[in-house]
């Protein structure tokens, strides 16, 4: 009994952990889209913001990439869905000896590495273009055309699998009946088979579009000199990441969720309608209730309201008070840095006391001398840090950064042990230093004397 309970507990724990693995990364990434921190992270949490979505919209390379991706997606749907349908129909009719061969060859592109498909497509059309003596600006060298063809190679196989699954439930007697009643082959296909396959065509089109939209391995070879969403994203992610990419992920997840909910609503309507028709057929009801137009469907209206309200709340709380919050965070950072500075200064005073003793007896170390010189230099910067220069102006930030970087160094200078530059591997480690208001008194000459601790404790 107890063993059974432990087993149960383990199973549930495993399932729970599995779903943490499944969703954890996505949730963390989603949260980073709303943090003001310049490096995508959740902790330390700074301020809630939607500014990264604006950054996203201003990225023209990305916008072009999305446009190309949409274009390619539509092209792939147009090419792959008919091919998949033809493949499935062919497979149903072909003799039993040929069938496994055809099946294997058409399914193979799913398993062949995308890289290989991309390369072979590129080379093939390159050679064909050469044979026709076509120039560089013809379709054979057009990235978008090549990508559509390359992706359709394996996406057609996806579509084919969907059609096969649906065709297995098709009753051929329907077709025969239509033919017996004098319909032509084309009519039978259009009036019997196509309506039966309509749901499968819909899912195949959606799947084809999604598969095309997120493909990278094939696209990176066939796209040549243009770009798609995935290639732009990949280069962005490889060379420095920022939360606007998370913002993009959030948008994509949001759009797909909306799509899924709408699909669900329309599917429910469809089943309800089918059930009503069945009822009529059985004689239990006399008429199919007229369906309300989609736009006045209560579920749809509720959904739209929730979405609008949710977006509004997020947008409002993400834009109002962000600047204030940033300032608060900045101040907190500064306070923290100030504490560090104080600690260092105390160390440094201790050090200088020791130095004073050694100075009388021996030569100063070279490094010590250097540091003295630079320390003198800092006095010149003081005006830079006067509050008037800083008042929340963005343009000055860039300028600030230079001297401030230096200041970090100056603080260390005084304790020779710290001379090793605390180079940080993350670029935004420097950010907290941007707000320099807190430093003014640090650089006042009198700080260097014994009064400092007293004054600081007064603050």
């Amino acid at each position: 009994m107890i063993q059974g309970r432990i087993q149960n507990f383990l199973v549930i724990g495993f399932v729970a952990l599995f779903f943490v693995y499944l969703f954890g990364p996505l949730i963390v990434m989603g949260l980073t889209a709303f943090n003001t921190s310049g490096f995508p992270r959740v902790s330390p949490w700074e301020c809630f913001t939607v500014e990264w979505f604006d950054v996203l919209m201003e990225d023209t390379r990305l916008v072009t990439g999305v446009r190309n991706s949409l274009l390619i997606g539509i092209g792939v749907v147009i090419l792959a869905v008919p091919i998949g349908l033809a493949g499935a129909l062919m497979l149903m009719q072909i003799g039993p000896r040929l069938r496994p061969w055809l099946y294997t060859v058409t399914i193979a592109p799913i398993l062949v590495p995308g890289v290989v498909l991309g390369i072979s497509t590129l080379l093939f059309w390159d050679r064909i273009g050469l044979m026709f003596g076509a120039g560089e600006d013809t379709i054979f060298y057009d990235g978008i055309f090549l990508t559509i063809v390359g992706q359709a190679t394996f996406i057609s196989a996806y579509a084919m699998l969907i059609f096969i699954a649906r065709l297995q439930r098709f009753d051929p007697a329907l077709e025969e009946a239509a033919l017996d009643l004098g319909a032509s082959h084309t009519q039978t296909f259009r009036k019997i088979l196509l309506p039966f396959l309509r749901p499968a065509i819909g899912s195949a089109a959606v799947l084809a579009f999604l598969a095309s939209f997120e493909n990278y391995n094939t696209t990176i070879f066939t796209i040549v000199s243009s770009s798609t969403l995935t290639t732009v994203l990949a280069s962005k992610v490889r060379y420095g990441i920022d939360p606007s990419i998370s913002a993009l992920a959030v948008s994509i997840v949001f759009l797909t969720l909306v799509g899924a909910v709408l699909y669900e609503i329309s599917k429910r309507r469809e089943t309800r309608r089918a059930r009503a028709q069945m009822a009529v057929a059985r004689g239990e009801a006399t008429e199919v209730k007229k369906q309300r137009p989609f736009l006045t469907e209560p579920a749809f209206i509720l959904f739209v309201l929730i979405v609008v309200a949710g977006l509004g709340t997020v947008y409002f709380s993400g834009t109002v008070g962000v600047e204030e919050c940033k300032i608060i965070v900045k101040e907190q950072r500064q306070a923290e840095i100030k504490r560090k500075v104080e600690r260092r200064q105390q160390q440094q005073m201790f050090q200088s006391a020791v130095d004073a003793q050694s100075e009388s007896s021996s030569d100063q170390e070279e490094t010590q001398e250097d540091s003295k010189v630079t320390a003198k230099g800092t006095e010149g910067y003081q005006s830079v840090f006067s509050p008037g220069n800083l008042q929340g102006e963005v343009e000055t930030e860039a300028e600030e950064e230079e001297p401030v970087k230096g200041t970090e160094g100056y603080l260390n200078v005084f304790s020779p042990g710290n001379l090793v530059n605390p180079s940080s591997d993350e670029p935004d480690e420097e950010k907290p230093v941007k707000g320099t208001e807190g430093y003014q008194n640090v650089f006042a000459p009198e700080n260097l004397t014994d009064q400092v601790p007293a004054e600081n404790s007064g603050n």
């Binding site: 990434m29 058409t106 399914i107 398993l111 080379l123 084309t186 994509i252």
Partner: protein, 309 residues
């Protein structure tokens, strides 16, 4: 004669328009998109590397130099083998096998749970939530892993704050982020084949074994796993092939010192500009993956036909 009969029957059954459409569409797919491009790539890989204007001339002779290069390196180098490329190749294959094993270990229990333990709405919800992460772009998924495994990522912050680690552990350099990201990417492709196979198992068999006193691990080993073998093999095949051929995840999550074989192919094309060598490497990848899968199927005694169901 029988062949033309065959065609006549085909045209009669479908009507001229539809028959023509079927033949053109399938023919285009088979030859223009699948078979000929692969053959062209093969042809390209066994020719000398010359710029396009010289294609088909004397200088575009047949040679195996690119395959030789993969194994022995350039003629100038002093090493007896092309250590970098060969190492990367075997490391990629090894890592792909490792990722496949992780996925089996992760997905078999979940698939079993879905098929035989979870019920009704709960199992539907689970299936739905399995699909959700795969709506998201492969690159964004890799990006998510880069965020959580970074040196100031959630995992490092957590481990440092509760005192397990003194300082952040470099998950990216040690390939842990890469393995986690790759296993994550293909979970769905492993779960569904196994799920389909396990679902068709008669529950009474499990009940009978339990009544006869078999412990749970023996039930799995003797009844469930043999029954699910075709599903497990087809899941493994897909995950292995796609992992070995992955490009985005290794580019984003790979450490600075670890390359994936596809990255070498990519470099051959985009940086070295040696398309012939790039296609030779692509052929090597394709052929060795297929051979490995076939050998594994032979060892596991799985037939291709039952796997494809």
């Amino acid at each position: 004669m029988s062949f033309s009969n065959y065609w006549r029957a085909f045209f009669q059954k479908n009507g001229a328009a539809l028959a023509l459409f079927l033949i053109i569409a399938v023919g285009m797919w088979l030859f223009m998109m699948i078979i000929l491009p692969q053959l062209f790539m093969l042809d390209f890989s066994i020719r000398a590397n010359v710029p396009p204007p010289k294609f088909g001339t004397e200088e575009h002779y047949y040679t195996l130099e690119h395959y030789k290069y993969m194994i022995f390196g350039s003629a100038q180098s002093t090493d007896s083998f092309n250590i970098i490329d060969v190492t990367v190749f075997f490391r990629t294959i090894g890592a792909a096998i490792f990722v496949t094993l992780i996925d089996v270990a992760l997905c078999y229990p979940i698939a079993y749970y879905l098929a035989h333990v979870a019920t009704g709405g709960w199992s539907r919800l689970m299936v739905l939530s399995l699909i959700v992460p795969f709506w998201i772009n492969e690159i964004l998924r890799a990006f998510a892993f880069k965020i959580i495994f970074g040196s100031t990522g959630v995992i490092n912050n957590f481990l440092v704050s509760i005192g397990i680690l003194d300082q952040p552990y470099d998950f990216i350099r040690n390939d842990i982020a890469l393995w986690a990201g790759l296993s994550y990417a293909f979970i769905l492709l492993m779960i569904f084949p196994i799920f389909n196979a396990i679902e068709s198992l008669d529950k009474n068999q499990i009940e009978a074994a339990r009544d006869l006193g078999a412990p749970w691990w023996r039930i799995h080993w003797r009844i469930v796993v043999p029954h699910a073998k075709p599903g497990i093999s087809s899941g493994c095949t897909m995950v292995f092939m796609l992992t070995a051929g992955a490009l985005a995840a290794p580019q984003i999550l790979g450490g600075p010192s670890s390359l994936w074989f596809t990255q070498i192919i990519y470099q051959g094309f985009n940086q070295a500009g040696n398309w012939a060598r790039g296609s030779a490497y692509a052929i090597i990848l394709l052929v060795s993956c297929i051979v490995l899968v076939l050998v594994m199927m032979k060892i596991a005694k799985v037939k291709f036909g039952e796997m494809m169901k």
